[in-house]
């Protein structure tokens, strides 16, 4: 089983290297980007099937001794990593197949495909690795791939800026994350995930709040949570399949995966759980509002991603690890589907703007139906997978007790508000894209439906988006699959019941229905208008992402630039003054000496002779002086 996990990591690496080596040969690039990823999909399914429901399987080999620590290269297969591995390979395969035609006219397709493969490998490394340092390597490779892929259209200014922004913002979180891992590993005496987890579970962790906060910083940066969320909407400057793979389904989910993996560390710090809940509450509500106001469909989906990731963070804050992981999986499926569908629509319409769309229901029937499934799953329409996973989180938050009570209340209240907001923006997106009049602006009417390479991934992803949620009906089945409530290291007596029940489901359903009716009513009265006017005075701030970028600019960027200017002034005017001064001084002295060089050889000789006399006299004086001392 561990061999297959290793193969799952290695296959995309090989694919990436082969694609890179192939240069601009298009057929070569196509084969080597799709085939290894598809093979990794098969091996990841084998891993999942072989793992079953029990425990962690570990196979390692010593990579390198590093001082008093040793780096271990190896795989750790648990229920959690097997499930997430399957999610990653499914989405990656879909994206690679989809890109065959979507990126057909792109000159840089081979580089793009190679980077996607490399990214997939890095994500699988994070999922399956046994060593925290190796995990960090995968984590950073993902960040680098994300940078390159956001900047894929580097001839456009916004893409360049977005790439740099994404890299810098996630790095802001990664630096504390590195320190967190270092503290954890040094305290535990090993960087092996299993060793660290068992050591933490035995209750010996000191400075738990500090460690958990440092780790949370990395999670907040990678998973685009407030206040480090603003890179994700801008990252939509990259190609649409990249948004589906990296910025919706996998990389941003890596942060949540990490919290689920190192859950005992966070359990040891109840204060950090409350902090997580507050971050999640702010993020989920704010970004849902922002999603409602956006006019670019990819930005709507980006803010929606931020909001849904906040649900997972909220679920983790209230002890609902199983619920959060379940939402991670279902969200990965339906959000990748939404982005790929959005790509089809953008190619069809020739614009990202909602105002250029409408009436696509008959022109793109398959896209319409698959995206409807995904949106229903996003809203949480009963019996779709998003319904089960979101209700599981809300139910856990509602019923939270003990140390989870305080974060539970925060998450439950804001989670229910966000359910209504989610329904509102999803309805708006659905109505504006597929219903109403078709604007005249569309360039061509010849292509009715996208090519099959783009439709098949949509249909494939629609299956888990629709029916994955039924695993929740197995009571504790899903929880036991991913290692109990708190992971393999802490044994829990019974696994969380993920079935939707109780009052939260009812409230959530009523709120969602109310929001749907409100938006639908508004749209019915004037199909050409934007239902975002419902936000009233909030609309403008929400469109601008509540000016978070401006605040960050004011609080961080401008002071940093000011400091840089001071340093620049000190450098050019103070330090350089000394450097220039030596030059000017030497020049002046040289000018004096130059006057002596008259060319009169007798003057030179006189100077030479008097110099010899001076030296001789000085030597005699010195020798007499020292002789006198001896005497």
């Amino acid at each position: 089983m561990n061999l297959f996990a290793l193969l799952t990591i290695a296959l995309p690496v090989i694919g990436s290297a082969a694609t890179f080596a192939g240069g601009r040969d298009l057929r070569h690039a196509r084969f080597w980007s799709v085939a290894p990823t598809a093979a990794a999909l098969v091996t990841s399914f084998i891993v999942l099937a072989a793992h079953g429901t029990d425990g962690a399987y570990i196979a390692t080999t010593r990579l390198a001794p590093a001082g008093s620590f040793t780096l271990w290269l190896g795989t750790r297969v648990t229920g959690l990593s097997a499930q997430v591995g399957v999610l990653v390979t499914i989405v990656a395969t879909c994206v690679q197949v989809y890109s065959l035609t979507y990126m057909k006219h792109d000159r840089r397709y081979p580089t793009y495909a190679a980077l996607v493969s490399l990214f997939t490998a890095a994500m699988l490394l994070v999922v399956f690795t046994e060593d925290l340092i190796v995990l960090l390597v995968g984590w950073e490779v993902m960040g680098a791939c994300s940078y390159f892929l956001i900047g894929h259209y580097w001839d456009r200014k916004d893409a360049r800026y977005a790439a740099i922004k994404a890299f810098l913002v996630t790095k802001t979180g990664d630096v504390p994350f590195l320190f967190g891992i270092a503290i954890l590993g040094v305290q535990a005496g090993t960087f092996r995930v299993d060793g660290v987890l068992h050591w933490v579970a035995s209750g010996q962790l000191r400075y738990a709040p500090l460690v958990a906060t440092l780790l949370l910083c990395g999670v907040v940066g990678k998973s685009a949570q407030f206040p480090l969320h603003s890179w994700l909407p801008d990252a939509m400057a990259g190609p649409t399949p990249i948004s589906a793979l990296i910025h919706a389904a996998t990389m941003v989910a890596a942060g949540m995966y990490l919290v689920a993996l190192l859950y005992p560390v966070f359990l040891a710090a109840p204060g950090v759980l409350i902090l997580m809940a507050i971050i999640a509450a702010i993020t989920m509500t704010g970004s849902a509002l922002a999603a409602f106001a956006q006019t670019d469909i990819k930005r709507v989906l980006a803010y929606s991603t931020v909001s849904q990731l906040a649900y997972m963070l909220g679920g983790l804050a209230v002890g609902g690890r199983s619920a959060a992981v379940m939402h991670l999986l279902s969200h990965g499926a339906f959000k990748a589907l939404l982005f790929l569908g959005a790509g089809v629509i953008i190619h069809r319409v020739g614009s990202n703007e909602l105002s250029a769309m409408g009436g696509l229901r008959y022109r793109l029937p398959i896209t319409f139906w698959t995206m409807t499934i995904a949106l229903a799953s996003l809203v949480g329409v009963p019996l779709f997978s998003g319904f089960f996973s979101k209700e599981a989180i809300l139910g856990t938050a509602w019923n939270a007790s003990g140390e989870f009570a305080a974060p539970g209340r925060i998450v439950a209240i804001f989670g229910l508000i966000t359910v209504a907001l989610t329904a509102a923006y999803a309805t708006r997106l659905w109505l504006k894209m597929f219903f109403g009049p078709f604007p005249e602006a569309s360039p061509e009417d010849s292509r009715v439906e996208a090519p099959s390479t783009e439709l098949v991934p949509l249909i494939v992803l629609a299956v888990p988006a629709a029916i994955f949620g039924f695993v929740a009906l197995g009571q504790g089945f899903f929880g036991s699959l991913i290692g109990g409530d708190y992971g393999e290291a802490i044994s829990s007596t019974l696994s969380a019941d993920l079935r939707p029940a109780g009052i939260t489901s009812l409230i959530a359903f009523l709120l969602a229905a109310l929001a749907f009716l409100l938006v639908w009513d508004r749209w019915r009265r004037d199909p050409a208008a934007d239902p975002a006017v419902l936000l009233g005075p909030l609309r403008e701030p929400a469109l601008e992402g509540f000016y978070v970028d401006d605040v960050i600019d004011f609080v961080l960027v401008q002071p940093t630039k000011g400091l840089a200017r001071v340093v620049g002034f000190l450098d050019t005017e103070v330090i350089d003054a000394y450097v220039r001064g030596t030059g000017v001084g030497a020049r002046g002295l040289g000018g004096l000496l130059r006057r002596v060089q008259t060319g009169n050889i007798q003057l030179y000789l006189a100077a030479l002779f008097s110099g010899v006399i001076v030296i001789a006299v000085a030597l005699i004086e010195l020798s007499q002086h020292s002789a006198g001392q001896v005497r």
Binding site: R594, G599, Q602
Partner: protein, 130 residues
Amino acid sequence: MHAVYPLLLGALLFAIGLYGVLARRNAITILMAIELLLNAVTINLIAFGSLLSQFPGVDPYNVGQVFTLFVITIAAAETGLGLAIVLMIYRQRGTAAVDEQRDLAEPLRGPVDETEPGARRPLQTTEAGP
């Protein structure tokens, strides 16, 4: 003989030679003065050589006298070379006055950048016009 006499003679010769080298303008006079300087030194060499020969074993090879022979030889060669140079200078410039040979003086307007094109080009002589 007391050692002070030859040393005094040497010093006297050296002073005369130094005066000749530093103060006279004619290049041939300066060459002669240089000969005086060399001879002052050889007198010193011989004086110290005979002084040391009183102590057996200190100077078994008579280094003072040997070096005097060397110096005389080199002085002859040097004078020949120097006279040739003076002759060439006189032929070229019509004068052998040392203080007029100042081509190597540092130009007071600052050094010339030799990498610049045309910096060392000789002055263009205009061909005869119409």
